[in-house]
Each structure stands twice: as C-alpha cells, then as structure tokens.
Amino acid sequence: MTMSTSSFKEVEQEEQAIFLTTLQTSPKNSSSTPVRRMQYVPSLAQRVAESGNAEVRKYNPLYPRTQINMGSRIYAEQLKNIDEDKVRDFSREIAVHDVYEWAKPIGHQANFIKSDPKERRGKFWSSPSSDLSKNLPGTPKKVEAIHPQQQRYEHLRVYLDSLKNEARVTGETEFSERVLNLSWSVWERLTSLFQARGQWLEVPDACPGSKNNFMYTWSKSEHYLECEIFGTGEIEFFYRNRNTGEVWGDDTTLEQGFSGDILDKASLFIE
C-alpha cells in the first residue's frame, strides 16, 4: 500500500507488456481474453495521452468504469474515432477478439446463462489479473454490468415469477401456475435450440391471457411471431408478415418439440 506512483507505473507497464504478448500469441478460445482486454484500457489511454490526443479523456483510467464494462464492442467503436495509427492497430486486434467473444461455442453460452447471475456479472472482474486493481489506491468501485439480452432474459424470469405470486396470493387470476411454468419451459427449450447453433433468440414480449393461456410475441420490422401456450399443454405458433399479409401457423406440445418450420420462423428473430 505504500507503493509510490513511479513503481506502480513500472508494475503496470510490465503487466501491459505481458498482456500484449498474450493477446497476440494466446489461442482464440482462451476464456481469459476478455478480462485481459479490460485490463488493457488504462494502458491504451496512457499511450494516447502521450501522443497528445484530446480524446484521451474518454479512456482515462479514472473515467467511470461502466463505460468500459459495457463491453469491448463499444470500446472498439470508440477507438475508431481516434485517428492514430498506433491505436488503429490495437483496435483491430481488440475487434477481432470481440467478434470471437460473440461467437463463442454454444456450450459456453449455455453455461453462461445457467450460471448464477452474480457469477455472470462478476465475469469480467473475477480473474486474478483484475484483482490487482483492488490493491490500488483510489481505484473506482467495480460496477456490475449485464448484456442487454441477458438483462431481458432475467426480466422475463422475474415477470413470470411475479405472475406466479399473483396467482398464488389472489387465487383469482385467469391463469394458473402451471401455464406459467410451462411457458418458462417453452422459452428455455426454444432458446437452448438456438444456443446449440451458436445463436441468440431475442427475448420476447409476454403477457398472460384470460383463458389460462400465456403469450410470447416477437416483432421485428415486417415480421411478427407469437407463441401461445395453454394450460392444457398445447402450444400454438402464429406468424404474420405485415407487408404481404402472409400468415402461417403450427400447433405443437413440449413433448412433440418444435418443427423445422417453427424454428425457421423463430430464426427471423435472432439477435
């Protein structure tokens, strides 16, 4: 804790050097890559500062961490605005890793979803290298950040739980706990099928009905898809194209699974 500023810089520069080497030589599937990328931010800021670029303020180590935590995608976007050869090279390096981050193997994504939310949120801060920051004086507090799609996934869960409570407490709802449980299972099954293909299905809007039914809806430009789940176990899919007026429908159950046609329609709503 009595470390002087100069010695701290030395340590940090050493860390950066290690990182640069790792970034260029480590295999793409290294799970530690995103963490290291986060650690890289201050050092890049310092480099740009040395070259006198005014944009450096954005990348100052003391700049609120939330900006950085939003992910390397935003970070790489911001980097594009800095017109310097050195930075351009680094941003390309980061962008490559960023693309990889979104096309991670399916297994990884599935585990990411199923893992504990706290664990997920702490993902970028849990590596040994990031632990260095807690020893530094005046380091901003760690701020948790979740991917928007992840956030919507959790919102859906919370929404269904709140409806379950409503059904339990009042006992007068027009929908049962069973239909809500079934609806969650339908969503999990559907989304896992896409995750198996390395794709993210948009988290749908949702609302219960009055006939012990529950409905998911997806809407994107001219495409509209709904999935209506009934307490009896029946699941009805319906698609409508707003431009052409074309409609399509298919019925199934969780036991029967989802047909190719259903998955084709749902794939219109992949993020």
Binding site: A206, S219, R240
Partner: protein, 197 residues
C-alpha cells in the same frame, strides 16, 4: 333524389352528436373511438411495447332491450370514449383488476381490418355494436344506469362461431389470430396510457 340524399348527409354532419347512444346491438358510427382496458404486457414499462396484449376476453351476456331480452353475440367489451371515461370503465371490472392499460381504437379502422386464413382474405369480419349493460336489482334485470354505462359496446367477429364456413381448424385459428394481432397493432398505433392507481 340526389338532392335529398345530400341534404340528409349534410344534416347528419351538422347535427351529429358524439354522445348519443344508438339502439342496442346496432353498429356504432364510424367516427367513434372506443376504449379497451387491458393488462400491460411485460415490455410495456421498458419499451412501451403493447403487441402482446390479449384482446380475446370475449363476453356473451344477456342484455335487456326495450322490448325483450336479447342474447348479445360474443364480443370484446369496449367503451365509447365520448361516453365513458377510463376510470368509469375500470369501475365495471372486478376489484383491483390489473387491467389498467387504456387502449384507444377507431371504429372505422376496426371495421376495415381484413383477415387472412392462409388461403383467403376476408374483409369486414369485425363489427362494433352497442351492447346495453344490465344489472340485477331485486332479482330483476334492468338497464345499468351507473355513470359511464351508456358507452358500453362490443367488437364482434372474434369468436369461433363468427369465422366463415368451410375453413379447416388451422385456417380458423389463423383467421382469429390474424384479427387479434391487427387489433393489437391498431391499439399500438394510437395513443395509449396506463391509468393512475
């Protein structure tokens, strides 16, 4: 003849009253707008998105006409917005009902909806009619005279029996779902808000 037709049309425009109640089970004028109270869907708070609203709570009830009892066709309960306020309409629902999202739909747009069964397109399946409300007082069914009751009306054509004959089960479902989606889209297009609790 043309002169008389034009004169009648002009007098209708001049003396047209938005707060006049029509005959029971007769169509509402095209210029009217109706309110519907719905449960806000999941994305309403976050995105203002209301596409997942459920517009399928059909009611079929005995109502009292001037002469005798008539069976109202199954209808989606709505309220003429010039005769009933959202707060008045809410009082007709069960206590603490979660249906606090106020949707506004134009009658002429509802009637213009064309539904697709997947094989064929059907126009003018939906109608908006006056549906007098009644209440039981001392065992007798009388016309409801509570504030706002006059504006009660219904959208017909959404039930299973209203679909054109000769359609398969799948086509019937497509048709009904297509009607419901288009109603929801109409509601999304116009202004909607959530009532103060």
């Amino acid at each position: 003849m043309i002169f008389w037709t034009k004169l009648r049309s002009l007098s209708n425009k001049l003396f047209f009253r938005m707060d006049s109640v029509g005959e029971n089970l007769t169509p509402l004028p095209d210029a009217y707008s109706v309110l519907r109270l719905a449960r806000p869907p999941k994305d309403f708070a976050e995105k203002g998105n209301i596409l997942a609203i459920q517009l399928d709570q059909l009611e079929g009830e005995f109502i009292l006409s001037s002469e005798d009892k008539k069976d109202a066709p199954p209808h989606l309960s709505v309220w003429v917005d010039s005769l009933t306020t959202p707060e008045q309409a809410y009082k007709f629902l069960s206590e603490n009902s979660p249906r606090k999202l106020v949707l506004r739909l134009k009658v002429n747009e509802i009637c213009q909806i064309k539904a697709n069964s997947g094989e064929c397109v059907y126009p003018h399946l939906l109608k908006v009619i006056w549906v007098y409300r009644s209440q039981e007082i001392e065992g007798e069914l009388v016309r409801d005279c509570r504030p706002g009751a006059d504006g009660h009306s219904g959208i017909t054509g959404l039930d299973e029996n209203s679909v054109p004959a000769g359609l398969t089960n799948r086509q019937q479902k497509n048709l009904r779902k297509d009607l419901r989606v288009q109603l929801a889209e109409l509601a999304s297009k116009d202004c909607f808000h959530i009532m103060d609790s």
